[in-house]
């Protein structure tokens, strides 16, 4: 799909962000508080009971790791994924690990965008024990990220066979909606929303409905559904999705209001910067600098630049006005993940960079995998 020269170029572009200022990774400021009562750090979240407490049963380890994964998600701080992994050390990458533990490992890997590793872990676990709805649900997610919708649908059905009917139904509706069955999805989600009163589940269903509506081209309904979801449960993923819709439809002030509620993740800072830029507010530069500093900090850790290629491409497209860099990074990103935003990013930046061949390649690929999304019909 991407010729080698092109890929090499793209990686060079990605790597060059590390060379801009190699030494200044982070800046720090010293201070000694005036009084003993001065608060030095506020822990946004804390898991009761210490990590080193004897966690020797798989159940205890799984529960503790689960709490850390949830923390990673609610704080957008990946250090908690590292802690979850540490808790699972005795079983990590072990063929005889209990299924539930292997599924948690796959979840951690998936959260770090190590999709190949997650798939391998999950396949092995599900081969040992197929009666694992969570495992199949995560597998369906991985298949959707790889834009293999038929395989995702099959995984969704396994969720149902394992006895989680509502999750299976939502999983299938989401997959079908990606394939363009927007009416089926709208009616199906409406029915599921009547079946439950659990707030987190309702919030999840509303966010799936919103995404489906947005892909179907109904931005107004999508915005309403996103807001309903967020009113039920504040969530980083949904907030970014709503902000993207608002930024795309020229409502940067609304996007800022939504993002304000969220922890300052790279994705949040990126969108705040773009919103300020749309508003002609000079604060966008400060946030952009902050984002670049974070990219450098990731490079200093020796992390794979491809893992943040999406943010790199979006920053190039939205903030740096460098469509060529955006397009190359978007191509690299598309090798890793194929969610609708990734296709949109590749199409949008290839168009802006006037890379006609690349654009054609992406569009051919979109129709080959069978994704339907109104945002791609620019």
């Amino acid at each position: 799909m991407l010729n080698p020269v092109c890929r090499l170029l793209a990686l060079t572009v990605l790597a060059s962000t590390a060379l801009v200022a190699p030494a200044q990774i982070t800046t720090s400021r010293d201070f000694i508080p005036a009084s003993d009562d001065a608060v030095v750090e506020v822990l946004t979240a804390r898991v009761p009971g210490k990590m080193r407490a004897a966690i020797d049963t798989p159940e205890a380890a799984a529960t503790a790791a689960q709490a850390q994964i949830q923390l990673a998600r609610s704080t957008a701080d990946p250090r908690y994924l590292g802690r979850a992994q540490a808790l699972l050390t005795p079983w990590w990458n072990r063929a005889d690990a209990p299924t539930a533990i292997a599924i948690l490992q796959a979840t951690i890997e998936q959260s770090r965008h190590e999709f190949d590793a997650a798939r391998a872990t999950l396949s092995a676990a599900l081969a040992r024990d197929a009666n694992a709805p969570q495992g199949w649900l995560t597998m369906a997610t991985l298949e959707r990220v790889a834009a293999r919708y038929d395989a995702a649908d099959a995984a969704c059905q396994r969720v149902g066979i394992s006895g989680a009917a509502l999750y299976a139904a939502a999983c299938r509706l989401e997959t079908h909606s990606l394939q363009g069955k927007f009416t089926e999805a709208r009616q199906g989600f409406a029915a599921l929303l009547r079946q439950t009163s659990d707030a987190p589940t309702l919030a999840w269903l509303f966010s799936l409905l919103a995404e489906s509506e947005e892909r179907g081209g109904d931005d107004a309904s999508a915005a309403t559904s996103y807001k309903k979801s967020l009113a039920l449960a504040s969530d980083a993923y949904t907030s970014l999705a709503l902000a993207d819709l608002q930024l795309r439809t020229g409502k940067p002030a609304d996007a800022l209001a939504v993002l304000q509620q969220q922890p300052q993740s790279d994705g949040v800072i990126l969108r705040q910067s773009y919103a300020y830029k749309q508003l002609d507010d000079r604060r966008w530069r400060v946030l952009h600098e902050d984002l670049l500093a974070r990219f450098r900090a990731l490079d200093a850790r020796g992390e794979d630049a491809r893992l943040h290629a999406r943010e790199l491409a979006l920053a190039a497209l939205w903030l740096e006005g460098d469509a060529n860099k955006a397009s190359l990074a978007a191509d690299v990103n598309l090798q890793m993940q194929k969610e609708p935003i990734d296709w949109w990013l590749a199409v949008r930046s290839a168009k802006a960079a006037k890379r006609d061949a690349a654009l054609q390649r992406v569009l051919t690929e979109v129709s080959r995998v069978g994704l339907r999304d109104a945002r791609l019909m620019l």
Binding site: S28, F31, V40, A86, S265, E303
Partner: protein, 378 residues
């Protein structure tokens, strides 16, 4: 394991969405190495309060998720011992535990850090090593980011307590090429030469200034169809003036003798271009171009400053690095001048050279410089 599976499924909804990539970075600690006299190296380690909380119950003694200065002061002796236990230094095959002292709190972009200091004494020449094990059981993705210098040799590395956890150092000759990327003065010089070339060739403001100076110097006499010695001499003197000017401030700034803020240097550089171009349009007889080149060159040199400190070069190698960088700048500059000379030989035959090239070019430079000035002030 069925109970375990049902715990997991409660959170199925959020596990089925891909969290936005690499929010903050994961957990990092920072180690700085500094020369502190003969055979001794100053060490400073900065560790995030958030990370320490996962190890020390005592840190948030009242469990209110707010860590106060009082709580930190009480915990620091225990933390200092723990740091000593977790970082082993080996000097000439003898392993030793170092005493660490609490120095200060640091505010970094991702929260508060505690800094501890120690001194490493090891008679040269000998091989030293650092083994890092902090957070080994707590966070699988924790890293130690190392920067600084030992014996004038820059050190940059990232250690993982669960992976590559050893750093080899030498206070005599380099052992690990991935750690020591420069060994001798000449190698350092050679290393920084390309950086200098690149700096001038991509430093469009420096080139614009050079062009502004060179435009009015006519060394090809159209009427006699020959090279004019006086013109050629003026060219050489001007280029030399610029070289001396920027070399002086580049040296002074990198040795730390003068300190200039980019806030005024960057706009001032744009101003030098505008003034030089304006003088082409309305010459002032007593301002000679080589004097102008020398004076304004001083300002341009400040624009190159900080290059070495950013690259982490210090000590005895600094002068070699500076020499390499400066030679690179001069080589790049000469290449540009050579290209201009060839162009000039053709352009100067044209009867409208003065009107179009000198005047038109100067107007264009004023325009560009003004744009830069506005952009840099804002």
């Amino acid at each position: 394991m069925t109970r375990l599976a049902s715990i997991l499924l409660l959170c199925a909804c959020w596990l089925s969405q891909i969290a936005p990539a690499s929010a903050h970075k994961a957990s990092d600690a920072y180690l700085t190495l500094r020369e502190a006299g003969v055979d001794s190296t100053g060490l400073q380690i900065s560790i995030a309060v958030k990370d320490l909380d996962a190890v020390f119950d005592a840190l948030d003694a009242d469990n209110d998720r707010q860590i106060t200065w009082g709580e930190i002061k009480r915990a620091t002796p225990e933390i200092a011992r723990w740091v000593g236990d977790g970082i082993a230094f080996t000097c000439a095959e003898k392993s030793e535990k170092l005493p660490w002292n609490f120095e200060s709190i640091e505010q970094r972009s991702d929260g508060a850090y505690l800094r501890f200091a120690s001194t490493l004494r090891c008679p040269s020449p000998s091989i030293m090593a650092l083994d890092y094990a902090l957070f080994r059981d707590v966070d699988a993705t924790h890293r130690l980011i190392i920067a600084g210098a030992v014996n004038g040799q820059p050190v940059a590395a990232a250690l993982s307590p669960n992976g590559r956890s050893r750093l080899q150092l030498s206070n005599a000759t380099a052992t690990d090429p991935s750690v020591f990327f420069s060994q001798t003065g000449l190698i350092t010089l050679a290393q920084f030469f390309p950086a200098g070339v690149e700096h001038i060739l991509t430093g469009f403001d420096h080139l614009a200034f050079l062009l502004a100076l060179l435009l009015p110097i006519v060394f090809y006499q159209r009427n006699i169809a020959a090279i004019s010695a006086a013109g050629a001499l003026a060219l050489v003197r001007t280029v030399t003036g610029f070289t001396i000017g920027h070399s002086v401030t580049l040296l002074l700034a990198n040795l730390g003798w003068i300190n200039a803020s980019p806030a005024w240097v960057e706009p001032a550089i744009a101003l030098t271009i505008a003034i030089s171009a304006a003088l082409n349009l309305k010459p002032v007889p007593w301002i000679r171009s080589e004097i102008l080149a020398l004076g304004f060159g001083l300002i341009h040199g400040l624009g190159f400053s900080g290059v070495m400190s950013e690259a982490g070069v210090s000590g005895s190698l600094l002068l070699w690095g500076l020499a390499g960088f400066n030679l690179g700048v001069e080589a790049g500059q000469l290449a540009v001048v050579a290209v201009w000379c060839i162009l000039h030989l053709f352009l100067a035959r044209w009867s409208h050279y003065q009107a179009v090239v000198v005047r038109g070019g100067s107007y264009a430079l004023i325009l560009v410089a003004s744009y830069w000035m506005v952009q840099r002030v804002l």
